[in-house]
């Protein structure tokens, strides 16, 4: 390994170097992939972990938040698979096609692969890397900022994931459920990467769940690439429900074609440190993108939703709504940038970020940003930070509703605006139930 280790100062950074050295020979990939991994790690080593002086990581300083690097989780054995049998239980029973990724590796034996709809193909990333498929398909090249640290590190260490392909025009009626699970009681690091190519005019619903053992300080790095073809329609929901000591860094990379529709919603409940970053590029004209997120945070949780949305072609519409409910000594950060390139005339983009602070020690940071290079646009953003409306609370109490219940109702209403935007009714119900459970835990 020829990484300039001088840049790797923290224990975590040095640990990553050790982990990479130890794991690299065993990671899937032919010669080309191995070289790409080495180059990725070199690039990572040049810069080290992202820190607060990098504008994009201002509020999530991994140099500080990531104390050490865990060893890479080994490929799952029988015990891990047995534990993974219940993966994604939070939305079980909704009839979705479940695909399980255990400790970063796609497990076909745990997945529902029967009666695949015509046009839908499911493969393992590890298999494809072994055949020297690129770590990141070309479609995403102009979506990511240069040397994006989380995706770069993920490229070096990724063990596997799912590769989905939907043929042009195919309408996949049954939603796909990617159930990611980290197993065991030893703290490990899991690097997965999944890719979707949605052909022109195709339609799909994709739901991700992420979970792991309670109280174990494992680390998850997940990348999801979404290549949405012209006129295609993708509906995506990500439920992050990691164990309370986990570190979770997820990157969504989306390339959206002309007249396509992308709806994505993130729902974050668990994890000690969670960073959900999305890079979305509306490449084609007349696309429609709706991006939203909810974080329910308590204790000392830290959650960061960072969005980089680029309008690159004319006549696209985007709507973003991000909400955070922050209790205890938790911290919520939101960074959302809408960039409108010169070619993207007639852009209509609106973003709203709201934080609700429930306790003395709760903190919220938000940075909605506009970067506009086209003149014929309608762009706007709004952001609010505050606590529950006392008058509303009083109104409810005057009707006989106890204080805690009144608060819960108001919080549900606050979160409901985002949940209501989710297409599948069952999913809405599951997330509402999760919200209620969170509120009950808060009261307990």
């Amino acid at each position: 390994m020829n990484a300039p280790v001088a840049a790797l100062k923290t224990e975590a950074e040095q640990g990553l170097a050790t982990a990479f050295a130890a794991a690299a020979p065993g990671l899937p990939g032919g010669a080309a992939v191995a070289a790409a991994r080495a180059a990725a790690f070199d690039a990572f080593a040049q810069a080290g972990l992202p820190h607060r002086r990098l504008e994009a990581w201002k509020y999530t300083d991994l140099r500080r938040l990531m104390r050490d690097a865990k060893p890479l989780a080994p490929p799952p054995e029988a015990a891990a698979k047995a534990e993974a049998a219940t993966a994604g239980a939070v939305i079980a029973g909704l009839g979705f096609r479940r695909l399980v990724v255990v400790d970063g590796v796609f497990a076909p034996d745990l997945s529902d692969l029967a009666d695949l709809e015509p046009g839908l193909a499911i493969a393992s990333l590890a298999d494809q890397l072994a055949a020297d498929a690129p770590l990141l398909p070309a479609a995403f090249a102009d979506v990511l900022p240069a040397a994006e640290p989380a995706v770069t590190l993920n490229g070096a260490l990724v063990r596997g994931g799912v590769v989905l392909t939907v043929a042009p025009g195919a309408v996949v009626a049954r939603p796909l459920h990617l159930a990611f699970i980290t197993t065991g009681t030893a703290p490990v690091a899991v690097y997965s990467r999944s890719l979707l190519t949605l052909g022109a005019g195709a339609k799909l619903s994709l739901i991700e769940t992420h979970e792991g053992p309670e109280g174990v300080d494992y680390q998850v790095s997940a990348v999801l690439g979404l290549d949405v073809g012209d006129g295609a329609s993708l509906d995506h929901v990500k439920i992050t429900r990691e164990g309370s000591a986990a570190l979770h860094v997820a990157s969504l990379i989306a390339s959206v074609g002309a007249a396509a529709t992308l709806t994505t919603c993130g729902f974050t409940l668990g994890g000690a440190v969670v960073r959900n970053q999305a890079f979305v590029r509306l490449k084609g004209a007349g696309t429609n993108a709706t991006l939203s997120g909810v974080s329910l945070l308590a204790g000392r949780q830290h959650a960061d939703a960072t969005l980089m949305l680029t309008h690159a072609a004319p006549g696209s519409t985007s709507r973003e709504v991000f909400k955070a409910v922050v209790d205890g000594a938790a911290r919520a950060a939101f960074q959302g940038k809408i960039a409108v390139e010169q070619a993207a005339q007639q852009t209509d983009a609106r973003m709203m970020a709201r934080a609700l602070l429930l306790s003395e020690e709760a903190e919220a940071y938000s940075k909605p940003e506009l970067e506009i290079f086209a003149d014929d646009v309608q762009c706007g953003h709004g952001a609010t930070t505050g606590t529950l409306d006392d008058q509303l609370k009083f109104y409810l109490m005057a009707r006989g509703i106890p204080a805690k219940e009144a608060e819960a109702l108001l919080i549900q209403a606050f979160v409901g605006e985002v949940i209501d935007g989710i297409a599948q009714e069952g999913l809405r119900e599951a997330l509402t139930a999760a919200t209620v459970a969170w509120l009950e835990a808060r009261d307990a």
């Binding site: 429930l358 903190e363 940071y365 940075k367 506009l370 003149d375 014929d376 646009v377 952001a383």
Partner: protein, 493 residues
């Protein structure tokens, strides 16, 4: 041709050289040698007859500055500034000690006359064609590095108000200056402020004693005349308990091909129940149509609402400078204190503006309000950058922010970068931002009523910035409105 397209064409043709304050005044000047060193710092301090502690303060700042790096986080691009290729001190040569204004170099008086700045009290007092009830304004005129005249000093003194060049205040009220200088913007605050601390040559000092409402508007008029000269003025305004003062600042510079550096520091201190209203119309030379020349305006302005119930209000109309890097801020330290920031930033040609504010809520029940209107035309880049933060103890902090940007043409950029940081659940922050262009339909509606294209754009733009213009003192508002029109000439007419 579509209305907006036509406007764009006109803006493209805009000749920024119509800058009407671009003339040079021919006066003999007393300059320090080029470049920056401890000796230059000593030279400046000596020229000003400063007390020893002041020299030490400057030297410490200078040494600190040597260890600092120029900030690069703003959305502005400019070639590296050679700090050794500048003059740090230039003063019009005095023929002898001045006994009255009549002895000021007539060339300088003419300059201010041309700029429309009334230095002659007698003219003002004579009230030639002065509408009834017009407020009088006391002026401190700063020409390159020194103050050349301050009007109404006696009348102000009778009211107990100290308004004089800071160089003079350092001699006459050293303890007062020492108490407050650097207490809001520490000498080590940032690269440009630290440089200023080392080499500042003049600026205004205002002290309004307890319970006094300053009987007139105070204003300072800054003029850069000399070539290759940096202007580093330092303004310090203190409103003691229950005092009120409204202060206006105007700036122009000759048209020159070289970029000129302006790195000012303004410190405001408002004690209990005091209020300071600070208004700026910044019209430094913006450079020509190709982006050659113009002022680099790196300014640190900060107000400290030190006392309970105090209030500081910043209003700025930024039309000039090649680069503007400026964030007039409020530290809301006193309970129930409030801060305001009203801004119009217009960029045209190749101008780059990165401006905004910081509202730091520390005390209880503090409130702040931000209204920013950005207009980008030509090939300019216009960024609003702001921070609103509530600290742990800032119970009941309130902020409302509205940032609107208007784009004229597709060669320019408008950017909004607000930061909101709340560490207190009772803090309520609201932020709204919009970016749009002038609607073709609205322009056509105006034109159908008989307005020309330029008049229509002017009308819409004036409507767009009205909320902020209203915050300016009347005399300034009229001036600012005209300036906005000139700045967008071609699109506004």
């Amino acid at each position: 041709m579509a209305a907006v397209q036509e406007t764009i064409e006109q803006v493209r043709r805009i000749d920024v050289e119509q800058y009407k304050y671009g003339f040079v005044t021919d006066v003999e000047s007393d300059k320090a040698p080029k470049g920056l060193s401890e000796d230059i710092v000593r030279f400046i301090s000596q020229k000003k007859n400063e007390p020893e502690w002041m020299l030490e303060w400057r030297l410490e700042a200078y040494r600190r500055w040597l260890t600092m790096r120029e900030p690069d986080w703003a959305r502005v691009n400019y070639p590296k500034i050679d700090y050794q290729d500048l003059y740090y001190y230039a003063a019009p040569k005095k023929k002898k000690e001045l006994a009255s204004l009549d002895e000021v170099d007539p060339e300088i008086l003419k300059t201010y006359e041309k700029l429309g700045i009334p230095l002659r009290e007698q003219e003002l007092l004579a009230g030639v064609v002065r509408p009834e009830g017009e407020r009088r304004i006391a002026v401190d005129a700063v020409f390159d590095s020194v103050s050349v005249a301050t009007t109404f000093q006696k009348e102000l003194k009778d009211a107990g108000v100290i308004f004089m060049p800071i160089s003079e205040a350092l001699r006459e009220y050293p303890e007062l200056v020492r108490k407050y200088l650097g207490s809001v913007v520490p000498a080590s605050d940032n690269y440009f402020a630290t440089l200023n601390s080392a080499v500042f040559s003049d600026g205004s000092f205002v002290y309004v004693p307890e319970g006094v409402r300053c009987p007139m508007e105070l204003s300072t008029y800054f003029r850069i005349n000399e070539k290759n000269t940096g202007q580093f003025e330092r303004t310090l305004i203190i409103a003691d308990k229950g005092a009120y003062v409204s202060y206006l600042e105007g700036c122009t510079a000759p048209q020159r091909d070289e970029n000129q550096l302006h790195a000012a520091v303004v410190e405001l201190v408002a004690m209990d129940d005091a209020e300071i209203k600070y208004s700026t119309v910044q019209n430094w030379y913006p450079g020509n149509a190709e982006g050659v020349g113009g002022i680099y305006n790196f300014v640190t302005k900060r107000g400290d609402c030190r006392g309970d119930n105090s209030k500081i209000s910043w209003t700025q109309v930024e039309t000039g400078s090649a680069i503007t890097w400026k964030y007039p801020s409020c530290i809301l330290r006193g309970d129930n204190s409030s801060g305001e920031f009203y801004s119009i930033a217009i960029s045209n040609g190749h101008q780059q503006v990165d401006s905004g504010t910081k509202m730091i809520h520390l005390g209880k029940n503090t409130s702040s309000r931000i209204v920013s209107k950005g207009i980008s035309a030509g090939r300019s880049q216009n960024t609003y950058r702001g921070l609103v933060s509530a600290h742990r103890k800032a119970k009941g902090a309130r902020n409302f922010t509205a940032c609107d940007s208007l784009l004229i043409g597709d060669q320019c950029g408008a950017h909004t970068v607000p930061y909101m940081e709340a560490k207190n659940p009772t803090a309520v922050f609201e932020h709204e931002a919009t970016t749009s262009k002038i609607s073709e339909d609205v322009l056509f509606y105006c034109v159908q009523r008989g307005l020309s294209q330029e008049e229509a754009v002017g009308l819409v733009v004036n409507g767009f910035v009205k909320d902020v213009l209203q915050q300016l003192p009347m005399e300034f508002a009229v001036e600012a409105q005209k300036l906005i029109s000139i700045s967008l000439e071609g699109s506004v007419g």
